[in-house]
């Protein structure tokens, strides 16, 4: 089922952030959202995540569907290690082997038992992506997920995300046209 965004309006402290926005996010496809800074991209995805409510308008196609996310900040549990950070969001039936495999594919295998607070910024970002991918979701929302990744890893992680998001709705906020092309995504410009 597609996600339909119908006549969405949102303002903060009297300032209109999203003005009568309409858009369709297609099922089983990757959709990128682009736009200038402060134009309301994060607000829009926060509404999809259920963290904000539109002042008026409707979002259809979210009922009973599980959503996972990579937030603008990593929002990891800093006191715990990588495996534990993945375990937080997954079912018991997911084996340690599966988690280990994912961490290796994110180039985090060597640090899987390290406390997150000791990891570099890029490592934390990859772990946040891993957490979003391991969660059993129908919709994955990512807010600038590839920011801060070095060039070599950048391409590898994009491929991994594309592979893991197959059959799901993937929404990616980005500033890079290159990423839109690599993801082979539909584009919404705010």
């Amino acid at each position: 089922m597609n996600i339909d965004l119908i006549n969405i309006n949102k303002s903060f402290d009297g300032e209109q952030v999203i003005n009568n926005f309409n858009g369709i996010i297609e099922e089983n496809k990757i959709t990128c959202i682009m736009g200038e800074s402060g134009i309301g991209k994060t607000t829009l995805i926060n509404m999809i995540l259920g963290l904000e409510k539109p002042d008026s308008g409707k979002i259809l196609g979210l009922d009973q569907r599980k959503i996972s996310a990579v937030f603008q900040e990593d929002r990891l549990c800093e006191e715990f290690n990588c495996i534990q950070n993945l375990r937080i969001v997954c079912d018991r039936n997911i084996s340690d082997k599966e988690l280990t495999r994912l961490l290796y594919s994110l180039e985090l295998g060597e640090v899987m038992y390290k406390k997150v607070s000791l990891l570099s910024g890029g490592m934390k970002r990859r772990l946040a992506i891993g957490r979003a991918l391991i969660f059993d979701a129908d919709i994955i929302v990512m807010d600038e997920p590839f920011k801060g990744l070095d060039r070599e890893l950048h391409a590898k992680i994009i491929e991994l995300v594309k592979k893991k998001a197959k059959g799901k709705i993937l929404i990616v906020v980005t500033h890079s046209m290159e990423e839109v092309k690599s993801l082979n995504a539909n584009l919404i410009v705010l």
Binding site: S68, A69, E73, R75
Partner: protein, 248 residues
């Protein structure tokens, strides 16, 4: 390595500081030359050894320890439960505010005397320790809950993290420093107030009763020895409890 050297230095400094005060105490007591007013550290040490050689001391310590620790745990559990309710429901928080303020502001002696009217002297120290711990735990844990990162709570909401996982991974990291500070403060308070309650209520076979007896017989070295024991037991239990809390 650097931290271990600095720890050793700190320990040496503490030992020297303690020695300084003990020597000063010894000198003053020598000048005064009156055991009744100020016994020397040697007199207190002899008194302590004599006390430790009697069977009754262990019964007194056990009786007081069980009562104060019971009060401490009851106060802690209720304080934590009430702080959770206050965190969840604004109305409940407003309801609790005057009660907590009143308990904090009331002089401990008034509470002890009042409590003696309501309950037996045997259970007085349980109640007093409970009453000392409750507002400390409540206020501090509520602060810890309020300081939980909103963004982490949003993350938990999106990923549907609930129950034990929510407590362990989201709330505990922000509450833990507050819990340790509260436990340390509350333990000290509960020992001080609990023993004070025993001195006033005089339940038999307790540290409070022994302190009172030492005072009646003007046995100042024993009074000092008991005080040293109370501080030592309170200190050891506090360190042990904080060590266990840190392992959670």
């Amino acid at each position: 390595m650097r931290s271990s050297i600095s720890n050793k230095r700190d320990l040496i400094k503490k030992i020297y500081a303690s020695l300084f005060w003990i020597i000063l105490w010894y000198l003053i007591s020598n000048i005064m030359n009156n055991k009744l007013l100020l016994p020397s550290p040697i007199d207190v040490f002899i008194s302590l050894v004599n006390l430790l050689n009697t069977k009754d001391i262990y019964i007194s310590i056990a009786n007081t320890f069980i009562r104060i620790i019971t009060g401490f745990f009851l106060g802690s559990i209720l304080g934590i439960i009430l702080s959770i309710f206050s965190y969840k429901f604004i109305f409940f928080k407003s309801l609790m505010e005057p009660l907590i303020l009143m308990i904090k502001a009331t002089p401990i002696a008034s509470i002890i005397i009042l409590a003696l009217v309501w309950i037996s002297s045997k259970n007085l120290s349980v109640f007093i320790a409970f009453l000392m711990v409750l507002p400390t735990m409540y206020t501090t844990i509520l602060k810890g809950l309020d300081s939980t990162d909103e963004k982490m709570l949003e993350m938990a909401k999106v990923f549907k993290i609930k129950g034990c996982k929510l407590i362990r991974y989201i709330y505990m990291p922000s509450i833990k420093p507050y819990l340790i500070a509260a436990a340390s403060l509350a333990l000290g308070l509960s020992w001080k107030a609990g023993v004070a309650a025993e001195v006033i209520g005089l339940p038999s076979g307790t540290i409070g009763e022994s302190l009172y007896t030492a005072k009646i017989y003007l046995n100042t070295p024993e009074l000092f020895a008991w005080t040293f024991l109370i501080v030592a037991i309170s200190f050891i239990f506090e360190k042990l409890f904080i060590f266990l809390l840190n392992r959670i």
